[in-house]
Each structure stands twice: as C-alpha cells, then as structure tokens.
C-alpha cells in the first residue's frame, strides 16, 4: 500500500510541475470553472429539444449532422 502511495504522490508532483511550466495553456484554472459548472453551459443541456430540431431539419433540408451523427434513424427524408 505504501509504495503505491509514494508513486501516486510523485505523479501528482509531476503533473503539477508540468502544469506550472505551461502557463500559456488555454483555459481557466480549476477554481475559475464556476460558470462552466452551470447546467445551461453544457453543450447540449436539453437533449430532447436538440433532438427535435435535428429531426425537423433532417427531414426538411439536405444537410444533417455536425453536432453529432448525420444519420436520421428514420425514413422521414
């Protein structure tokens, strides 16, 4: 159990060091993610609404997909 813990600790130190050396990395620091935690900031917060839109546009336009699979799963085209 103990050697494992030491290795684990070393790994964390390594990752932390890597994070510090790349201060130009894109994105907020972990404690700046409060807004990203809001449910409405998910890419698809209302899956049934998105599915309905894609279903309608799939059956009325020649383009489909982009957000996800282009298939329609129906013969509505």
């Amino acid at each position: 159990m103990k050697p494992l813990r030491i290795i684990h600790g070393a790994l964390i130190a390594l990752v932390a060091a890597a994070a510090c050396s790349s201060c130009t990395a894109v994105g907020p620091r972990p404690w700046e993610k409060d807004l990203m935690a809001r449910p409405e900031m998910q890419l698809v917060p209302y899956p049934l609404q998105t599915a309905a839109d894609e279903h309608v546009y799939f059956s009325k336009e020649a383009s489909s997909g982009g957000r996800g699979f282009a298939g329609g799963g129906c013969g509505c085209n």
């Binding site: 894109v26 309608v56 799963g73």
Partner: protein, 474 residues
Amino acid sequence: MQLKKRKAGRVGRAISAISATLLIATAASCENSAVAQDFYGLDKAGRDNFGPGIAYTEFDGALLIYQEAGGRVQAIEPTANLAIHGARGQQLTLGAVADAVSGATPNGAVPSDRTQTFVTPLKPQGSSTTVTSASGGSTVIQLPPTPGQVASAALGRQYTTAANTLPMDKGFRDHRAALTAGWSQPLGWISEIGGGGGFSREEDYQSITANVRAAKNFNSDNTTISLDLNGEFDSSFPFGGVPTGLSAMNAQFKPVTTRHKTQLGFVLGLTEVMTRNWLMALNYSYDSQKGYQTDPYRVISVVDPVSGEPTSTLYENRPERRKTQSLFWDNKLAFGPTVTELSYRYFTDDWGISSHTVEASERINLAKAWYVEPNVRFYHQNAANFYRAFLVSNAALPAFASSDTRLSRFDAITYGAKIGFRVSGRSELYVRADYYTQSGDGHPANAIGQLRRQDLFAGTKAAIVQVGYQWKFH
C-alpha cells in the same frame, strides 16, 4: 487510507456527497481546488448535488407538435429520455420516441394550368394508411387488366389536383416508434468510452443504428478530444413496392418490395474551455451512404418543350452513393445572467450540395426561477447536381433526377423563443415555439410556357411547438 465506511443510509450518503461538493466548489471559488479535488476523490466541481461524482438520475420528457402551413404535414411526437449517472462517471441512457404524422405532401410534380390526375397503388385494406375517397380526396379505380396481374392488386388509387395548384398526395399518414439505449464510462486513461444502439420502425421504413464513442480530457479538463463511430442500416419497404427510377408513375404493385441503405461515419470532436466564460466545440464529420436513397413516392413531371404542360410523370431517381462532410463550430458564452450560444456549420457532399448554417440563441435568466431564450437560425443550401424542377420531353433522360425541393437551392430562416421555469432545484418545465420558413426560386430562368406562371418552389413553412420537463433525482 480512508475511513472504512460501513454501508451508509440515504441521509448519510447524501451528506457525504454534498459535503464533498461544498468543499470542492468553495475551493474552486477560493483557490487551490486541485488539492481539494484530490483529497475528496472527485475531479470536478458542481454547485448542486447532481454534479460529477454523485449518482443521480435525470428524466426528460417532451411533446413536440409540428404543423406545416397550407394543410400539409402535421406531426405529434412524444419523447422520453432517462439518464442514469453513476458516481464514477458511468452513464446509462434510455430513450423512446413515438411519432404520428399525417397530412398532404407535395408529390414532386409541377403545377399546371389544367387539372392533373395521378395514380398510385391502393394501400391494402386494414392498413391505417388506407385512404377513403371522403377523407383523402382520392378515388379507388379499377386498373385495366394486364397479363399475369394478381387479382387483388387490380385496384388503384387516383387523385386529382386542380389547375394552378401544387400537386400533393393527401394520403400521407405514418406512425413511428423508436428506442435507443447507450452506455458510457471512464476506463483507465480513457475519460469516456461507450456505445449504444437504436431501433426505429415506421409502417414503411425501419432503421437500426449503432455507435461507439471514446473521449479523452487533457489540460486540467479544459480540453476534450472525442471520436464517435456511427453506423446505420435502413430498410425501405414502400406501399406498392419499390418503383424503378425514372419509370412512369402507375398504380401497379412493384415486384421489388424492400431496398436497403447503409451509412457509416465518424465525428472527430474537440471541446475547449477557452476562458472562464467561453466554451467552444469544433467537430469534423464524415459519412458515407450506400444503397437506396430515392424517395419511392416522389415523382417528377416531364413537360412539353413549348407549352410547359406536363406530358408524363416519372418516379424520381437518386444516386446510390453519397459522401458527406461537415464542420461544426459551437460557442457558448456565459456573461452575467445570460448564456449566448453561437454556432456555424459548413456542410458539403458529392451530390453537389453545400450549405451554411448559423444559429444564435440568448438565454436570459430572469429574477426568480424564470428564463427566456430567443433564438434565430439562418440556413442556405445549393442544389444537388441532379435536381430538376421538371424534365423536358424532347431532351435525353438523365441518369438521376429529383424535383424534391429539399435538394434545391433555398434559404431558410427559423426564429423562435423559449420560456423556462425552474419548478424546484430538481425540475424544470419549458415551452418553446419556433417558426420555420423556406424560400427558394419559384420562377427559375429555364421555366417553359405555362410553368413561367407557376410557383415552382414547393418549400415548407412550419410552426414547431415543444413542451418539455426535466427532472433530476437520487
């Protein structure tokens, strides 16, 4: 290392979870959250107790009502989704959709300054798609006897279209039911791995889909790269059989009853948290379709080269292969009480179609539990290279031809709004309404004779209303 926990009761488990969430979330708003996350064994912050690291279930239900202008298609579609989240990032999703569609749909023929008559196979008795002369504006006709004709198929259905009116088949009615299931979870160094499948059945169509997905988070979870592989296997078994492409429209039952289509594709995705306020996603998709992609009910008029009067009506014909690609760029911006979503999609295929889609929505959280979200969408597409509004009788027949407006050049605009109400911390009710309008060229330069006086663009105008409910629970 950790306290040996006995089997905790409901309250004990909940307190444990919300305490960890509190400390991680406050560490995030104070400082050094990585330390707290490591210590409490969770890897993401969440303000409520439905965040990552906590087991919960989410139920989504919605009812979609779709109504096209001019008495065309109307659809009612109830849907339900159940997502069961495990404490270690596992997710099981189950979905069900039912669909009832009815109304008139343009059959693809051009309008004429004379009355037009169309014949089509009579759907079998007892089928819910049987059309009576009273309700469907059609009449049952006796077909002229042909050698070897099966007696029971000797009846056809005939419908007429008044002069200067877009020909429509009013016998369109269908039901659909679909089920989906999916699973995903972290596995070793892979942040998310999973797969799923779906089955959809209509009266004349069946679709089976399968997908696998893998995703990896980097850069303190600010970057996610994902790959989705998708497959679809469809079977089309139209009423009256599968017509031969570009053969004359008739009421005979066709000998081929079923055709298939397979589709294989992938989506390569990059999701990036750009700043505290800005989330971005970029997807590249590729799909390859092989098999029957023609609309078996759709026809195309052949017109006289001088008068523009329809002289015959042929079934349409589309290529059996199609390769599509798209690039999708999505942005979500959180400022104050608002969330703005801005997306752009470029789509292109080897049928000659390319399209641009721009969508914008602005969610505004109002005081109390309400929010409003106006949205707008612009769409433009070019025509497929085999799109023809009509064929001319003295010209050679092309290999492929379709007069389907959906394959023509057109613009579409959608505008709408959504109103949501947080019933409690766990549930939300929303209503949204959108209006969709297509506009295209109804008077193309190549129109002949009487066609110059007709509107040759049969685009759609539709209202979309959806009521939905989301409920999260432990």
